[in-house]
Protein backbone atom coordinates (compact mmCIF):
# COMPACT_ATOMS: atom_id res chain seq x y z
CA UNK A 1 0.00 0.00 0.00
CA UNK A 2 1.00 3.60 -0.51
CA UNK A 3 3.54 5.03 1.93
CA UNK A 4 4.08 8.77 2.13
CA UNK A 5 7.23 10.12 0.55
CA UNK A 6 9.03 13.19 1.87
CA UNK A 7 6.75 15.54 -0.07
CA UNK A 8 3.56 13.97 1.28
CA UNK A 9 4.97 14.04 4.80
CA UNK A 10 6.12 17.64 4.53
CA UNK A 11 2.66 18.60 3.34
CA UNK A 12 0.78 17.03 6.25
CA UNK A 13 3.37 18.20 8.79
CA UNK A 14 3.06 21.76 7.49
CA UNK A 15 -0.70 21.48 7.71
CA UNK A 16 -0.49 20.43 11.34
CA UNK A 17 1.74 23.41 12.13
CA UNK A 18 -0.66 25.74 10.33
CA UNK A 19 -3.66 24.41 12.21
CA UNK A 20 -1.88 24.54 15.55
CA UNK A 21 -1.26 28.23 14.94
CA UNK A 22 -4.85 28.78 13.81
CA UNK A 23 -6.23 27.13 16.95
CA UNK A 24 -3.87 29.20 19.11
CA UNK A 25 -5.12 32.36 17.45
CA UNK A 26 -8.75 31.31 17.90
CA UNK A 27 -8.21 30.63 21.58
CA UNK A 28 -6.39 33.91 22.19
CA UNK A 29 -9.04 35.89 20.34
CA UNK A 30 -7.01 36.83 17.28
CA UNK A 31 -9.51 34.93 15.15
CA UNK A 32 -13.29 35.20 15.50
CA UNK A 33 -15.45 32.13 14.98
CA UNK A 34 -16.57 33.29 11.54
CA UNK A 35 -12.93 33.52 10.50
CA UNK A 36 -11.94 30.27 12.17
CA UNK A 37 -14.84 28.05 11.05
CA UNK A 38 -13.65 27.56 7.44
CA UNK A 39 -10.13 26.86 8.72
CA UNK A 40 -11.24 24.15 11.12
CA UNK A 41 -13.54 22.64 8.50
CA UNK A 42 -10.60 22.37 6.10
CA UNK A 43 -9.08 20.16 8.77
CA UNK A 44 -12.14 17.98 9.21
CA UNK A 45 -13.22 19.57 12.50
CA UNK A 46 -16.96 20.17 12.78
CA UNK A 47 -18.98 21.47 15.71
CA UNK A 48 -21.68 18.87 16.16
CA UNK A 49 -24.54 18.30 18.55
CA UNK A 50 -22.48 17.47 21.65
CA UNK A 51 -18.92 18.57 20.92
CA UNK A 52 -16.40 19.01 18.15
CA UNK A 53 -16.32 16.08 15.73
CA UNK A 54 -13.16 15.17 13.81
CA UNK A 55 -13.47 13.30 10.52
CA UNK A 56 -10.23 11.56 9.56
CA UNK A 57 -9.54 10.71 5.92
CA UNK A 58 -8.89 7.12 4.95
CA UNK A 59 -7.96 7.48 1.26
CA UNK A 60 -9.81 4.82 -0.76
CA UNK A 61 -10.48 3.06 2.53
CA UNK A 62 -7.03 1.52 2.82
CA UNK A 63 -5.22 1.36 6.17
CA UNK A 64 -2.07 -0.24 7.51
CA UNK A 65 -2.02 -1.94 10.90
CA UNK A 66 0.01 0.95 12.31
CA UNK A 67 -2.56 3.46 11.06
CA UNK A 68 -5.47 1.44 12.43
CA UNK A 69 -3.69 1.09 15.76
CA UNK A 70 -3.27 4.86 15.88
CA UNK A 71 -6.99 5.30 15.24
CA UNK A 72 -7.67 3.13 18.29
CA UNK A 73 -5.16 5.02 20.40
CA UNK A 74 -6.70 8.36 19.40
CA UNK A 75 -10.12 7.06 20.45
CA UNK A 76 -8.73 6.37 23.91
CA UNK A 77 -6.42 9.34 24.30
CA UNK A 78 -8.59 12.15 22.94
CA UNK A 79 -12.12 10.80 22.65
CA UNK A 80 -14.37 8.53 24.71
CA UNK A 81 -12.98 5.18 23.72
CA UNK A 82 -14.67 4.61 20.38
CA UNK A 83 -14.84 5.77 16.78
CA UNK A 84 -17.45 5.69 14.05
CA UNK A 85 -16.61 4.35 10.58
CA UNK A 86 -18.52 6.29 7.95
CA UNK A 87 -20.22 5.69 4.62
CA UNK A 88 -17.32 7.39 2.84
CA UNK A 89 -14.74 4.97 4.19
CA UNK A 90 -13.54 7.46 6.83
CA UNK A 91 -13.67 7.49 10.63
CA UNK A 92 -15.20 10.11 12.91
CA UNK A 93 -14.60 10.93 16.56
CA UNK A 94 -17.47 12.54 18.40
CA UNK A 95 -16.01 14.13 21.53
CA UNK A 96 -13.00 16.15 20.44
CA UNK A 97 -11.65 19.15 22.34
CA UNK A 98 -10.57 22.08 20.18
CA UNK A 99 -7.42 22.63 22.19
CA UNK A 100 -6.36 19.01 21.57
CA UNK A 101 -7.21 18.88 17.87
CA UNK A 102 -3.71 19.93 16.67
CA UNK A 103 -2.16 17.16 18.79
CA UNK A 104 -4.50 14.63 17.17
CA UNK A 105 -3.51 15.82 13.71
CA UNK A 106 0.15 15.50 14.74
CA UNK A 107 -0.44 11.93 15.92
CA UNK A 108 -2.20 11.15 12.65
CA UNK A 109 0.63 12.70 10.63
CA UNK A 110 3.10 10.43 12.41
CA UNK A 111 1.47 7.49 10.59
CA UNK A 112 0.84 9.26 7.28
CA UNK A 113 -2.74 10.30 7.99
CA UNK A 114 -4.69 13.54 8.14
CA UNK A 115 -8.14 15.11 8.01
CA UNK A 116 -7.65 16.98 4.75
CA UNK A 117 -10.47 16.80 2.19
CA UNK A 118 -13.02 15.59 4.72
CA UNK A 119 -15.01 18.82 4.70
CA UNK A 120 -15.53 21.94 2.65
CA UNK A 121 -16.35 22.57 -0.98
CA UNK A 122 -13.33 20.76 -2.33
CA UNK A 123 -12.69 17.37 -3.91
CA UNK A 124 -13.30 15.07 -0.98
CA UNK A 125 -11.48 11.91 -0.06
CA UNK A 126 -11.68 9.52 -3.03
CA UNK A 127 -13.40 6.20 -2.38
CA UNK A 128 -12.89 2.84 -4.03
CA UNK A 129 -13.71 -0.86 -4.02
CA UNK A 130 -12.95 -2.31 -0.60
CA UNK A 131 -11.81 -5.55 -2.24
CA UNK A 132 -9.32 -3.82 -4.57
CA UNK A 133 -6.19 -5.81 -5.17
CA UNK A 134 -7.66 -8.96 -3.68
CA UNK A 135 -10.32 -10.30 -5.99
CA UNK A 136 -10.28 -11.83 -9.44
CA UNK A 137 -13.04 -9.80 -11.10
CA UNK A 138 -11.09 -6.53 -11.32
CA UNK A 139 -9.15 -5.71 -14.45
CA UNK A 140 -6.50 -3.79 -12.48
CA UNK A 141 -6.08 -2.62 -8.90
CA UNK A 142 -7.97 0.72 -8.86
CA UNK A 143 -6.08 2.10 -5.85
CA UNK A 144 -3.03 3.50 -7.69
CA UNK A 145 -5.43 5.53 -9.81
CA UNK A 146 -7.34 6.66 -6.72
CA UNK A 147 -4.00 7.64 -5.17
CA UNK A 148 -3.11 9.60 -8.29
CA UNK A 149 -6.43 11.43 -7.93
CA UNK A 150 -5.62 12.09 -4.26
CA UNK A 151 -2.30 13.66 -5.17
CA UNK A 152 -3.84 15.69 -7.99
CA UNK A 153 -6.80 16.91 -5.96
CA UNK A 154 -5.10 17.66 -2.62
CA UNK A 155 -4.88 21.43 -2.24
CA UNK A 156 -5.66 21.85 -5.96
CA UNK A 157 -5.76 25.66 -6.08
CA UNK A 158 -8.46 25.83 -8.73
CA UNK A 159 -10.76 23.36 -6.98
CA UNK A 160 -10.47 24.36 -3.34
CA UNK A 161 -13.58 26.57 -3.47
CA UNK A 162 -15.97 24.71 -5.72
CA UNK A 163 -19.69 25.54 -5.72
CA UNK A 164 -20.19 22.53 -3.39
CA UNK A 165 -18.38 19.48 -2.11
CA UNK A 166 -17.25 17.02 -4.75
CA UNK A 167 -17.03 13.25 -4.34
CA UNK A 168 -15.20 10.82 -6.59
CA UNK A 169 -15.05 7.03 -6.65
CA UNK A 170 -12.84 4.71 -8.68
CA UNK A 171 -13.57 1.05 -9.37
CA UNK A 172 -12.13 -1.52 -11.76
CA UNK A 173 -14.78 -4.20 -11.82
CA UNK A 174 -18.20 -4.66 -13.38
CA UNK A 175 -19.43 -5.48 -9.89
CA UNK A 176 -19.77 -2.03 -8.38
CA UNK A 177 -19.07 -2.22 -4.64
CA UNK A 178 -18.49 1.52 -4.21
CA UNK A 179 -21.83 3.06 -5.29
CA UNK A 180 -19.80 4.53 -8.13
CA UNK A 181 -22.75 5.95 -10.09
CA UNK A 182 -23.97 7.84 -7.05
CA UNK A 183 -20.88 10.06 -6.96
CA UNK A 184 -20.17 13.44 -8.55
CA UNK A 185 -17.66 11.61 -10.71
CA UNK A 186 -17.57 7.85 -10.83
CA UNK A 187 -14.72 6.27 -12.73
CA UNK A 188 -14.74 2.68 -13.88
CA UNK A 189 -11.44 1.44 -15.23
CA UNK A 190 -12.08 -0.58 -18.36
CA UNK A 191 -10.28 -2.15 -21.32
CA UNK A 192 -11.18 -1.43 -24.93
CA UNK A 193 -11.28 -3.95 -27.74
CA UNK A 194 -7.54 -3.55 -28.23
CA UNK A 195 -6.94 -4.42 -24.58
CA UNK A 196 -5.84 -0.91 -23.67
CA UNK A 197 -6.66 0.45 -20.23
CA UNK A 198 -8.96 3.42 -19.96
CA UNK A 199 -11.47 5.14 -17.72
CA UNK A 200 -15.23 5.32 -18.21
CA UNK A 201 -16.50 8.58 -16.73
CA UNK A 202 -19.89 8.74 -15.04
CA UNK A 203 -20.65 12.33 -14.03
CA UNK A 204 -23.46 13.95 -12.10
CA UNK A 205 -24.64 11.31 -9.70
CA UNK A 206 -25.41 11.76 -6.05
CA UNK A 207 -27.88 11.27 -3.25
CA UNK A 208 -29.00 14.06 -0.94
CA UNK A 209 -32.28 15.86 -1.49
CA UNK A 210 -32.12 15.37 -5.27
CA UNK A 211 -30.87 11.84 -5.93
CA UNK A 212 -29.53 11.17 -9.41
CA UNK A 213 -27.76 8.32 -11.14
CA UNK A 214 -24.69 9.53 -13.01
CA UNK A 215 -24.85 9.12 -16.78
CA UNK A 216 -21.80 7.88 -18.67
CA UNK A 217 -20.38 10.86 -20.54
CA UNK A 218 -17.35 9.09 -21.98
CA UNK A 219 -17.01 5.31 -22.12
CA UNK A 220 -13.26 5.29 -22.72
CA UNK A 221 -10.73 7.92 -21.80
CA UNK A 222 -7.17 6.62 -22.30
CA UNK A 223 -5.69 5.98 -18.88
CA UNK A 224 -2.83 8.39 -19.49
CA UNK A 225 -5.44 11.16 -19.86
CA UNK A 226 -7.59 10.34 -16.82
CA UNK A 227 -6.45 13.28 -14.71
CA UNK A 228 -6.74 15.71 -17.62
CA UNK A 229 -10.30 14.53 -18.29
CA UNK A 230 -11.14 14.87 -14.59
CA UNK A 231 -9.75 18.39 -14.71
CA UNK A 232 -12.02 19.19 -17.66
CA UNK A 233 -15.09 17.83 -15.84
CA UNK A 234 -14.26 19.95 -12.80
CA UNK A 235 -13.50 23.08 -14.82
CA UNK A 236 -16.88 23.05 -16.54
CA UNK A 237 -18.56 22.52 -13.17
CA UNK A 238 -16.51 25.24 -11.50
CA UNK A 239 -17.42 27.61 -14.32
CA UNK A 240 -21.16 26.99 -14.44
CA UNK A 241 -22.12 25.35 -11.15
CA UNK A 242 -24.55 27.46 -9.17
CA UNK A 243 -23.17 29.38 -6.23
CA UNK A 244 -26.40 31.26 -5.46
CA UNK A 245 -28.31 28.28 -4.05
CA UNK A 246 -26.51 25.55 -2.10
CA UNK A 247 -29.35 23.14 -2.79
CA UNK A 248 -28.75 23.44 -6.51
CA UNK A 249 -24.98 23.70 -6.42
CA UNK A 250 -23.91 20.07 -6.87
CA UNK A 251 -22.70 18.96 -10.28
CA UNK A 252 -25.69 16.64 -10.66
CA UNK A 253 -27.92 19.71 -10.96
CA UNK A 254 -25.64 21.24 -13.58
CA UNK A 255 -25.51 18.06 -15.65
CA UNK A 256 -29.27 17.69 -15.35
CA UNK A 257 -30.05 21.30 -16.27
CA UNK A 258 -27.51 21.57 -19.09
CA UNK A 259 -28.35 18.09 -20.26
CA UNK A 260 -25.84 15.28 -20.56
CA UNK A 261 -25.08 16.12 -24.19
CA UNK A 262 -24.33 19.80 -23.64
CA UNK A 263 -22.32 19.16 -20.48
CA UNK A 264 -20.33 16.51 -22.33
CA UNK A 265 -19.77 18.83 -25.28
CA UNK A 266 -18.32 21.46 -22.99
CA UNK A 267 -16.15 18.92 -21.18
CA UNK A 268 -14.79 17.58 -24.46
CA UNK A 269 -13.97 21.11 -25.63
CA UNK A 270 -12.20 21.86 -22.37
CA UNK A 271 -10.44 18.51 -22.53
CA UNK A 272 -9.11 19.28 -26.03
CA UNK A 273 -7.76 22.55 -24.71
CA UNK A 274 -6.20 20.99 -21.61
CA UNK A 275 -4.47 18.31 -23.65
CA UNK A 276 -2.38 21.07 -25.20
CA UNK A 277 -1.15 22.07 -21.72
CA UNK A 278 0.30 18.67 -20.78
CA UNK A 279 -1.33 18.59 -17.35
CA UNK A 280 -1.22 14.83 -16.97
CA UNK A 281 1.15 13.61 -14.24
CA UNK A 282 4.26 11.91 -15.64
CA UNK A 283 3.91 8.20 -16.29
CA UNK A 284 6.83 7.59 -13.96
CA UNK A 285 4.79 8.89 -11.04
CA UNK A 286 1.98 6.45 -11.74
CA UNK A 287 4.53 3.64 -11.98
CA UNK A 288 6.05 4.73 -8.67
CA UNK A 289 2.62 4.60 -7.06
CA UNK A 290 1.71 1.28 -8.68
CA UNK A 291 4.88 -0.31 -7.32
CA UNK A 292 3.65 0.42 -3.81
CA UNK A 293 0.45 -1.51 -4.46
CA UNK A 294 2.23 -4.65 -5.57
CA UNK A 295 0.75 -7.91 -4.32
CA UNK A 296 2.01 -9.03 -0.94
CA UNK A 297 4.15 -12.15 -0.79
CA UNK A 298 1.38 -14.72 -1.12
CA UNK A 299 2.46 -18.23 -0.26
CA UNK A 300 1.87 -20.46 -3.27
CA UNK A 301 0.40 -23.93 -2.98
CA UNK A 302 -1.56 -23.42 0.23
CA UNK A 303 -4.53 -25.70 0.88
CA UNK A 304 -7.63 -24.25 -0.75
CA UNK A 305 -10.20 -26.06 1.37
CA UNK A 306 -11.83 -25.31 4.69
CA UNK A 307 -13.12 -27.48 7.52
CA UNK A 308 -16.70 -26.26 7.84
CA UNK A 309 -17.86 -28.77 10.42
CA UNK A 310 -18.47 -25.96 12.94
CA UNK A 311 -21.87 -24.57 11.85
CA UNK A 312 -21.28 -21.09 13.27
CA UNK A 313 -17.95 -20.84 11.50
CA UNK A 314 -19.48 -22.21 8.29
CA UNK A 315 -22.21 -19.56 8.39
CA UNK A 316 -19.66 -16.78 8.88
CA UNK A 317 -17.53 -18.13 6.04
CA UNK A 318 -20.57 -18.25 3.76
CA UNK A 319 -21.67 -14.72 4.53
CA UNK A 320 -18.53 -12.76 5.40
CA UNK A 321 -15.82 -14.06 3.10
CA UNK A 322 -15.23 -13.57 -0.61
CA UNK A 323 -13.20 -15.54 -3.10
CA UNK A 324 -9.63 -14.28 -3.36
CA UNK A 325 -7.65 -14.05 -6.57
CA UNK A 326 -4.93 -16.16 -4.96
CA UNK A 327 -5.70 -19.82 -4.26
CA UNK A 328 -5.49 -20.58 -0.56
CA UNK A 329 -6.63 -17.09 0.52
CA UNK A 330 -9.97 -15.38 1.16
CA UNK A 331 -11.17 -11.82 1.63
CA UNK A 332 -12.73 -11.34 5.06
CA UNK A 333 -15.28 -8.71 5.99
CA UNK A 334 -15.59 -7.96 9.69
CA UNK A 335 -19.14 -6.84 10.35
CA UNK A 336 -19.44 -3.84 12.67
CA UNK A 337 -23.16 -4.64 13.00
CA UNK A 338 -23.68 -6.95 15.97
CA UNK A 339 -27.31 -7.54 16.86
CA UNK A 340 -28.62 -4.38 18.51
CA UNK A 341 -25.31 -2.58 18.04
CA UNK A 342 -24.53 0.86 16.66
CA UNK A 343 -23.69 0.50 12.94
CA UNK A 344 -20.09 1.47 12.23
CA UNK A 345 -19.03 2.03 15.83
CA UNK A 346 -16.01 0.22 17.19
CA UNK A 347 -14.34 0.54 20.56
CA UNK A 348 -10.69 1.50 20.88
CA UNK A 349 -9.91 -2.05 21.95
CA UNK A 350 -11.73 -3.47 18.93
CA UNK A 351 -9.93 -1.09 16.59
CA UNK A 352 -6.55 -2.09 18.02
CA UNK A 353 -7.50 -5.77 17.87
CA UNK A 354 -8.39 -5.45 14.20
CA UNK A 355 -5.02 -3.77 13.65
CA UNK A 356 -3.25 -6.64 15.38
CA UNK A 357 -5.23 -9.24 13.43
CA UNK A 358 -4.36 -7.49 10.18
CA UNK A 359 -0.70 -7.68 11.15
CA UNK A 360 -0.96 -11.35 12.03
CA UNK A 361 -3.32 -12.55 9.30
CA UNK A 362 -3.59 -10.06 6.42
CA UNK A 363 -0.18 -8.69 5.45
CA UNK A 364 -0.66 -5.64 7.65
CA UNK A 365 -3.58 -4.30 5.65
CA UNK A 366 -7.20 -3.34 6.30
CA UNK A 367 -9.96 -1.60 4.40
CA UNK A 368 -12.92 0.46 5.54
CA UNK A 369 -16.05 -0.19 3.50
CA UNK A 370 -18.73 2.32 2.60
CA UNK A 371 -21.14 -0.04 4.33
CA UNK A 372 -19.32 0.74 7.60
CA UNK A 373 -17.50 -2.55 7.95
CA UNK A 374 -13.81 -3.51 7.97
CA UNK A 375 -12.08 -5.80 5.50
CA UNK A 376 -9.02 -7.96 5.98
CA UNK A 377 -8.15 -8.43 2.33
CA UNK A 378 -5.65 -11.29 2.31
CA UNK A 379 -6.32 -14.08 4.81
CA UNK A 380 -4.97 -17.62 4.48
CA UNK A 381 -7.71 -20.23 4.50
CA UNK A 382 -5.71 -22.42 6.84
CA UNK A 383 -5.68 -19.57 9.36
CA UNK A 384 -9.29 -18.50 8.89
CA UNK A 385 -10.78 -20.47 11.79
CA UNK A 386 -8.26 -19.08 14.24
CA UNK A 387 -8.99 -15.56 13.01
CA UNK A 388 -12.74 -16.07 13.30
CA UNK A 389 -12.42 -17.28 16.89
CA UNK A 390 -10.51 -14.13 17.85
CA UNK A 391 -13.03 -11.90 16.12
CA UNK A 392 -16.00 -13.65 17.71
CA UNK A 393 -14.43 -13.38 21.15
CA UNK A 394 -14.21 -9.62 20.68
CA UNK A 395 -17.80 -9.17 19.52
CA UNK A 396 -16.71 -8.86 15.90
CA UNK A 397 -18.01 -12.17 14.60
CA UNK A 398 -21.45 -11.19 13.29
CA UNK A 399 -22.20 -13.34 10.23
CA UNK A 400 -24.57 -10.94 8.52
CA UNK A 401 -22.79 -9.22 5.64
CA UNK A 402 -25.31 -7.72 3.18
CA UNK A 403 -28.19 -9.05 5.25
CA UNK A 404 -30.91 -7.03 6.94
CA UNK A 405 -28.87 -6.65 10.12
CA UNK A 406 -25.92 -5.21 8.18
CA UNK A 407 -27.55 -1.80 8.24
CA UNK A 408 -25.96 1.39 7.00
CA UNK A 409 -26.99 4.19 9.34
CA UNK A 410 -25.80 7.75 9.62
CA UNK A 411 -25.16 9.13 13.13
CA UNK A 412 -28.56 10.83 12.93
CA UNK A 413 -30.01 13.09 15.59
CA UNK A 414 -28.05 11.35 18.33
CA UNK A 415 -24.91 13.11 17.12
CA UNK A 416 -25.47 15.24 14.01
CA UNK A 417 -26.56 18.87 14.08
CA UNK A 418 -28.08 18.58 10.61
CA UNK A 419 -30.26 15.57 11.40
CA UNK A 420 -34.01 15.68 11.84
CA UNK A 421 -34.49 12.27 13.40
CA UNK A 422 -32.47 9.55 15.06
CA UNK A 423 -31.18 6.77 12.84
CA UNK A 424 -29.33 4.52 15.25
CA UNK A 425 -32.23 3.51 17.52
CA UNK A 426 -34.23 2.49 14.45
CA UNK A 427 -31.29 0.44 13.20
CA UNK A 428 -30.98 -1.22 16.58
CA UNK A 429 -34.66 -2.14 16.72
CA UNK A 430 -34.63 -3.57 13.20
CA UNK A 431 -31.45 -5.48 13.94
CA UNK A 432 -33.03 -7.02 17.04
CA UNK A 433 -36.41 -7.71 15.40
CA UNK A 434 -34.87 -9.58 12.47
CA UNK A 435 -31.92 -11.28 14.18
CA UNK A 436 -33.54 -14.71 13.99
CA UNK A 437 -34.73 -14.22 10.39
CA UNK A 438 -31.64 -12.75 8.75
CA UNK A 439 -30.54 -15.99 7.18
CA UNK A 440 -34.04 -16.82 5.94
CA UNK A 441 -34.39 -13.41 4.30
CA UNK A 442 -30.93 -13.47 2.74
CA UNK A 443 -29.45 -10.47 0.94
CA UNK A 444 -31.30 -7.30 1.86
CA UNK A 445 -29.48 -3.99 2.07
CA UNK A 446 -31.23 -1.65 4.48
CA UNK A 447 -30.02 1.94 4.78
CA UNK A 448 -31.16 4.68 7.15
CA UNK A 449 -30.62 8.44 6.96
CA UNK A 450 -31.63 10.88 9.66
CA UNK A 451 -32.20 13.71 7.19
CA UNK A 452 -32.53 14.51 3.52
CA UNK A 453 -28.76 14.84 3.11
CA UNK A 454 -28.74 11.04 2.82
CA UNK A 455 -25.44 10.21 4.50
CA UNK A 456 -27.07 6.86 5.29
CA UNK A 457 -27.64 6.22 1.55
CA UNK A 458 -31.38 5.56 1.98
CA UNK A 459 -31.98 6.20 -1.72
CA UNK A 460 -29.80 3.20 -2.52
CA UNK A 461 -31.28 0.76 -0.04
CA UNK A 462 -33.27 -2.26 -1.11
CA UNK A 463 -35.17 -0.89 1.85
CA UNK A 464 -34.45 2.73 2.70
CA UNK A 465 -35.59 4.73 5.69
CA UNK A 466 -35.55 8.52 5.86
CA UNK A 467 -36.05 10.27 9.17
CA UNK A 468 -37.89 13.59 9.02
CA UNK A 469 -39.08 16.18 11.52
CA UNK A 470 -42.86 16.33 11.57
CA UNK A 471 -43.82 19.26 13.76
CA UNK A 472 -41.06 18.48 16.23
CA UNK A 473 -41.71 14.74 16.26
CA UNK A 474 -39.52 12.14 14.59
CA UNK A 475 -41.18 10.49 11.62
CA UNK A 476 -39.80 7.88 9.27
CA UNK A 477 -40.51 7.44 5.57
CA UNK A 478 -40.11 4.00 4.02
CA UNK A 479 -38.55 3.55 0.58
CA UNK A 480 -38.20 0.40 -1.50
CA UNK A 481 -36.20 -0.71 -4.51
CA UNK A 482 -32.93 1.17 -4.32
CA UNK A 483 -29.66 -0.37 -5.39
CA UNK A 484 -26.09 0.91 -5.59
CA UNK A 485 -24.50 -1.79 -7.72
CA UNK A 486 -24.00 -2.17 -11.43
CA UNK A 487 -27.80 -2.00 -11.80
CA UNK A 488 -28.11 1.18 -9.76
CA UNK A 489 -31.65 2.32 -9.02
CA UNK A 490 -33.23 4.86 -6.70
CA UNK A 491 -35.66 3.75 -4.03
CA UNK A 492 -39.24 4.98 -4.13
CA UNK A 493 -41.26 6.22 -1.15
CA UNK A 494 -44.08 3.87 -0.20
CA UNK A 495 -46.40 6.51 1.26
CA UNK A 496 -47.06 8.22 4.59
CA UNK A 497 -44.40 7.90 7.27
CA UNK A 498 -44.34 6.06 10.59
CA UNK A 499 -43.19 6.57 14.13
CA UNK A 500 -40.13 4.77 15.51
CA UNK A 501 -41.98 1.53 16.27
CA UNK A 502 -44.26 1.74 13.25
CA UNK A 503 -41.35 1.85 10.84
CA UNK A 504 -40.01 -1.43 12.22
CA UNK A 505 -43.42 -3.04 11.75
CA UNK A 506 -43.58 -1.64 8.21
CA UNK A 507 -40.22 -3.18 7.36
CA UNK A 508 -41.48 -6.52 8.64
CA UNK A 509 -44.61 -6.31 6.49
CA UNK A 510 -42.43 -5.60 3.45
CA UNK A 511 -40.18 -8.57 4.16
CA UNK A 512 -43.26 -10.75 4.73
CA UNK A 513 -44.47 -9.87 1.23
CA UNK A 514 -41.07 -10.86 -0.10
CA UNK A 515 -40.96 -14.16 1.77
CA UNK A 516 -44.48 -15.05 0.60
CA UNK A 517 -43.81 -14.22 -3.04
CA UNK A 518 -40.16 -14.88 -3.83
CA UNK A 519 -39.39 -17.30 -6.60
CA UNK A 520 -36.29 -19.41 -6.93
CA UNK A 521 -33.24 -17.66 -5.62
CA UNK A 522 -34.70 -14.17 -5.77
CA UNK A 523 -33.34 -11.56 -3.40
CA UNK A 524 -35.72 -9.02 -1.84
CA UNK A 525 -34.75 -6.55 -4.56
CA UNK A 526 -35.46 -9.05 -7.35
CA UNK A 527 -38.92 -9.78 -6.01
CA UNK A 528 -39.65 -6.08 -5.60
CA UNK A 529 -38.57 -5.38 -9.16
CA UNK A 530 -40.72 -8.23 -10.48
CA UNK A 531 -43.84 -7.38 -8.49
CA UNK A 532 -43.54 -3.62 -8.30
CA UNK A 533 -44.59 -1.39 -5.43
CA UNK A 534 -48.30 -2.29 -5.29
CA UNK A 535 -48.34 -5.52 -3.22
CA UNK A 536 -45.78 -4.11 -0.80
CA UNK A 537 -47.70 -0.89 -0.36
CA UNK A 538 -50.95 -2.75 0.14
CA UNK A 539 -49.43 -4.87 2.90
CA UNK A 540 -47.55 -2.03 4.56
CA UNK A 541 -50.63 0.20 4.89
CA UNK A 542 -53.26 -2.51 5.42
CA UNK A 543 -55.54 -1.66 8.32
CA UNK A 544 -55.67 -4.34 10.98
CA UNK A 545 -59.23 -5.43 11.86
CA UNK A 546 -60.45 -3.76 15.05
Amino acid sequence: MYVYDEYDQQMVDARVADFRDQVRRRLDGSLAEDQFRPLRLMNGLYLQLHAYMLRVAVPYGTLSSAQMRMLGDIADKYDRGYGHFTTRQNIQYNWIKLEEAPDILADLASVGMHAIQTSGNCIRNTTSDQYAGAIADEIVDPRPYAELIRQWSTFHPEFSYLPRKFKMAVIASDTDRAAMRLHDIGIQLVRNAAGELGAAFYVGGGMGRTPMIAPCINAFVPIDQMITYSEACLRVYNRHGRRDNKYKARIKILVHELGKEEYTRQVEAEFAHLLTLNLEPPAAELERIKAQFADPAFVPGLPDTLDLSDPAFALWVKNNTHTHKQAGYVVVTISLKPTGGIPGDASADQIRLMADLAADYSFDELRVTHAQNIVLPHVRKDQLHALWQKLAAAGLGAANLDQIGDIIACPGLDYCSLANARSIPVAQKISERFAAKEEEIGELKLKISGCINACGHHHAGHIGILGVDRKGVENYQLLLGGCEGADTSLAQITGPGFDENGIVDAVERATDVYLANREGGERFLDTYRRLGMAPFKEAIYRKEPA
Binding site: R26, G29, H50, R80, K97, L98, L413, V473
Partner: protein, 98 residues
Protein backbone atom coordinates in the same frame (compact mmCIF):
# COMPACT_ATOMS: atom_id res chain seq x y z
CA UNK B 1 -39.03 30.26 29.06
CA UNK B 2 -36.16 31.37 26.84
CA UNK B 3 -32.97 29.38 27.32
CA UNK B 4 -29.50 30.39 26.17
CA UNK B 5 -27.30 27.49 25.15
CA UNK B 6 -24.10 26.99 23.19
CA UNK B 7 -20.84 25.09 23.27
CA UNK B 8 -17.72 25.70 25.30
CA UNK B 9 -15.09 27.06 22.92
CA UNK B 10 -12.23 24.89 24.17
CA UNK B 11 -13.94 21.61 24.92
CA UNK B 12 -16.97 21.85 22.64
CA UNK B 13 -19.16 20.70 25.54
CA UNK B 14 -22.83 21.69 25.47
CA UNK B 15 -23.44 24.46 27.96
CA UNK B 16 -26.43 26.32 29.40
CA UNK B 17 -26.53 29.88 30.74
CA UNK B 18 -27.30 29.73 34.47
CA UNK B 19 -27.50 33.44 35.17
CA UNK B 20 -23.87 33.76 36.26
CA UNK B 21 -21.99 31.58 33.87
CA UNK B 22 -22.20 28.38 31.86
CA UNK B 23 -23.33 25.05 33.27
CA UNK B 24 -23.10 21.57 31.79
CA UNK B 25 -26.52 20.75 33.23
CA UNK B 26 -29.74 21.88 31.58
CA UNK B 27 -31.42 21.92 35.00
CA UNK B 28 -29.32 24.99 35.81
CA UNK B 29 -30.64 26.98 32.84
CA UNK B 30 -32.45 30.21 33.62
CA UNK B 31 -35.03 32.18 31.72
CA UNK B 32 -33.05 34.85 29.87
CA UNK B 33 -36.19 36.64 28.76
CA UNK B 34 -35.31 39.38 26.30
CA UNK B 35 -31.65 39.48 27.31
CA UNK B 36 -30.45 36.35 25.54
CA UNK B 37 -29.03 38.15 22.52
CA UNK B 38 -27.00 40.57 24.61
CA UNK B 39 -25.64 37.84 26.86
CA UNK B 40 -24.79 35.67 23.86
CA UNK B 41 -22.92 38.47 22.11
CA UNK B 42 -20.97 39.33 25.26
CA UNK B 43 -20.06 35.74 26.06
CA UNK B 44 -19.09 34.89 22.48
CA UNK B 45 -16.88 37.96 22.33
CA UNK B 46 -15.22 36.82 25.56
CA UNK B 47 -14.62 33.40 23.97
CA UNK B 48 -16.51 31.60 26.70
CA UNK B 49 -19.05 30.15 24.26
CA UNK B 50 -19.33 29.30 20.58
CA UNK B 51 -22.50 29.05 18.49
CA UNK B 52 -24.79 30.50 21.16
CA UNK B 53 -28.48 30.03 20.50
CA UNK B 54 -31.69 31.05 22.23
CA UNK B 55 -34.21 28.24 22.42
CA UNK B 56 -37.63 27.65 23.93
CA UNK B 57 -38.17 25.48 26.97
CA UNK B 58 -40.28 24.92 30.03
CA UNK B 59 -39.48 24.63 33.73
CA UNK B 60 -41.23 21.96 35.75
CA UNK B 61 -40.09 22.02 39.36
CA UNK B 62 -36.36 21.35 39.36
CA UNK B 63 -36.36 20.23 35.74
CA UNK B 64 -35.88 22.27 32.59
CA UNK B 65 -37.14 20.74 29.36
CA UNK B 66 -36.07 22.24 26.00
CA UNK B 67 -38.98 22.38 23.60
CA UNK B 68 -37.33 20.63 20.66
CA UNK B 69 -36.06 17.07 20.66
CA UNK B 70 -32.72 18.17 19.20
CA UNK B 71 -32.05 20.33 22.24
CA UNK B 72 -33.21 17.61 24.63
CA UNK B 73 -30.67 15.28 23.00
CA UNK B 74 -28.03 17.99 23.37
CA UNK B 75 -28.92 18.17 27.05
CA UNK B 76 -28.88 14.42 27.57
CA UNK B 77 -26.19 13.15 25.23
CA UNK B 78 -26.66 10.44 22.59
CA UNK B 79 -29.75 8.38 23.47
CA UNK B 80 -27.89 5.30 22.29
CA UNK B 81 -24.96 5.85 24.68
CA UNK B 82 -26.58 6.65 28.00
CA UNK B 83 -23.35 5.54 29.66
CA UNK B 84 -21.93 8.83 28.37
CA UNK B 85 -24.88 10.91 29.52
CA UNK B 86 -24.74 13.60 32.14
CA UNK B 87 -27.89 11.94 33.50
CA UNK B 88 -26.30 8.54 33.72
CA UNK B 89 -27.76 7.85 37.15
CA UNK B 90 -31.24 7.91 35.67
CA UNK B 91 -32.04 4.64 33.84
CA UNK B 92 -35.11 6.26 32.28
CA UNK B 93 -33.16 9.23 30.95
CA UNK B 94 -33.70 8.13 27.36
CA UNK B 95 -37.45 8.48 27.76
CA UNK B 96 -37.01 12.12 28.74
CA UNK B 97 -35.95 12.90 25.18
CA UNK B 98 -39.06 11.61 23.48
Amino acid sequence: MKILTGNDLKSGAVTWWDGQGWSLHVEDAVDVGEHGGDIAAREAAARRVVSPEIIDGTRDGDSVRPAHIKDRIRALGPTVRLDLSLKRADPAAGNWVI
